[in-house]
Symmetry: none
Subunit: 135 residues, 2 copies
DNA sequence: TAACCGTATTAATATTATTGATACAGTTAA
DNA sequence: TTAACTGTATCAATAATATTAATACGGTTA
């Protein structure tokens, strides 16, 4: 199910997380399927169990799997799958905040930007029958 | 003008770029002021000229200074740059905020992210006594 | 108890980032 | 031209970090 490529620049645990993400997203590993145990998977790939452990930790952090200590790890319900995107978003956000500080924009000022409701921020789900009719 | 802090986790060249950015943004180093030469600045700080060179490369890439080979490096005109950049930054920021909201991240949560103090966020090592900073 | 599960801690190692040593090239003035 | 400045490029030494492994620990189940 998993194949390692030692010509790949990426670290082993990253290859493994990527493969499992693919298998899970494609539905090949459905919700609640038990993942191979860290030891069996490690033995099968001839690497250290900790490397599998790290891959699984990542997968869990990103919401792809869940773990029951002593029992095993299982494929999570990814119908939402927002976890990964949120993490990526946070990274971007923090980077942008730092950049803004170099431009002389204080965090306080950023907070004010957050507080300002934007034009068109009024929960656009409300059907406004008196609108301009566009859309 | 520049002081190194060896207790600072950040690399030397990053400390240096940060200090100069501050000095330039605050107007202590006005437009067209000649920067200290890489060698003199290096000697003054007792570090390798290459470290200053790297800092200057960064500053130039970011538009804070310009260089004339063989003559020296000089403070660039940042009057437009800063306002322009801030506007651009705000656009990016608001766009990212909206994107985050689509991912289910509330503005309140974003505010909490802003509040987190970062490692190495303690600026203020520069002695700014209000002098004109000429040298 | 035994045989499985995941997890935490620490160390060895590989990779990358940072700084330094040195040589090269452009500008200016004597 | 030479001499004394300027920035720049290349490569090596070293510091910092990332990656993997060795090992021991605690939970679950039959």
């Amino acid at each position: 199910m998993i194949v390692l490529d030692y010509r790949d620049r990426r670290p082993l645990y990253e290859q493994i997380t990527g493969r499992f993400q693919e298998l899970i997203v494609k539905g090949i590993l459905p919700k609640d399927t038990q993942m191979p145990s860290v030891r069996s998977q490690a033995m099968q790939l001839s690497i250290n169990p900790n490397t599998i452990q790290r891959a699984y930790s990542e997968l869990e952090r990103e919401g792809y799997i869940y773990t029951i200590k002593g029992r095993g790890s299982f494929v999570a319900d990814i119908s939402g799958l927002l976890g990964e995107r949120r993490e990526e978003w946070k990274k971007q956000f923090m980077a942008l905040v730092e950049e803004g500080q170099l431009l002389g924009i204080s965090r306080q000022e950023m907070g004010r930007l957050l507080a300002l409701p934007e034009p068109g921020d009024m929960e656009g789900k409300i059907e406004d029958k008196g609108g301009d009719g566009s859309d």
